[in-house]
């Protein structure tokens, strides 16, 4: 499990602009696209899942976790996160507005053993506020790296 997390692609960017929730999902996916961890079809599939099923990806106040399926274009186990300059609304009853958007991708259904679980555990332990407090890309990247260590 530790080996999986060591090899995972983790990328974070601070204070990104986004016009709306779809734009925010594309912003969150952008670092993974740049790194080649996902293909260019993946961000649109992340948006489409929310259009089909509603804003279930908004997990907690201010926090969304965009994802699609392995077959939608994932090359490597990866998580990216962006903080937004201006929060966006997803239409969630309780957890809007959202200012922290994760993008998650796993190349097969079983390989996210560990990474997603670790991310959720860190979010329960206050990771979101530490990410929000990071002023630049280097600082937010250091915070996200905590996710490699299972809480």
């Amino acid at each position: 499990m530790t080996d999986d997390l060591d090899g995972a692609v983790l990328l974070a960017r601070a204070h990104r602009p986004a016009d709306d929730w779809k734009d925010a999902i594309h912003e969150a996916c952008a670092p993974l696209l740049d790194a080649g961890a996902i293909t260019d079809t993946y961000p649109a599939r992340c948006v489409a899942l929310v259009e089909e099923h509603g804003p279930y990806i908004v997990l907690a106040p201010g926090i969304a976790l965009a994802h699609a399926r392995p077959e939608d274009g994932v090359r490597q186990l990866a998580v990216a996160v962006v903080t937004l300059e201006d929060a966006v609304t997803f239409g969630h009853d309780d957890n809007d507005p959202v200012d922290l958007v994760f993008a998650f991708g796993s190349p097969d259904a079983d390989q996210h053993v560990g990474l997603l679980s670790s991310l959720a555990g860190h979010l329960l332990a206050g990771l979101a506020d530490r990410l929000r407090a990071a002023d630049d890309d280097a600082a937010i990247q250091r915070v996200l790296e905590e996710v490699r260590h299972v809480p």
């Binding site: 099923h53 279930y56 997990l59 907690a60 994802h67 259904a109 079983d110 996210h112 053993v113 560990g114 997603l116 679980s117 991310l119 959720a120 555990g121 979010l123 329960l124």
Partner: protein, 90 residues
């Protein structure tokens, strides 16, 4: 107190939308509900807590409830899991 162990038959297990369906259902019940896999037991009404369990298709989870509505709560959640948590069972 009431508890049952059930196998996850839906493709995503307790991830993605099924995790949200499960946690919201647990939050709306007249009981305090936990879910466990192996040694770990978490608040069933929190989607983040449920995600920490990393439950996949084929995993067995134990649903435990306390309170006046404990029996009904467990019955309701077990039925939801058996129905595939909003996904087509495979």
């Amino acid at each position: 107190m009431s508890e049952r162990t059930v196998e996850l038959t839906n493709p995503s297990g307790l991830h993605a939308r099924p995790a949200k369906v499960f946690a919201e259902a647990a939050a709306g019940l007249d009981a305090t509900v936990t879910v466990s896999k192996g040694e770990r037991e978490v608040n069933a009404a929190s989607v983040l807590s449920v995600l920490t369990l990393d439950c996949h298709q084929g995993d067995r989870i134990t649903i435990r409830a306390e309170g006046d509505g404990a029996n009904e709560a467990v019955d309701h959640l077990v039925a939801l899991v058996d129905e595939g948590l909003g996904e087509e069972p495979t």
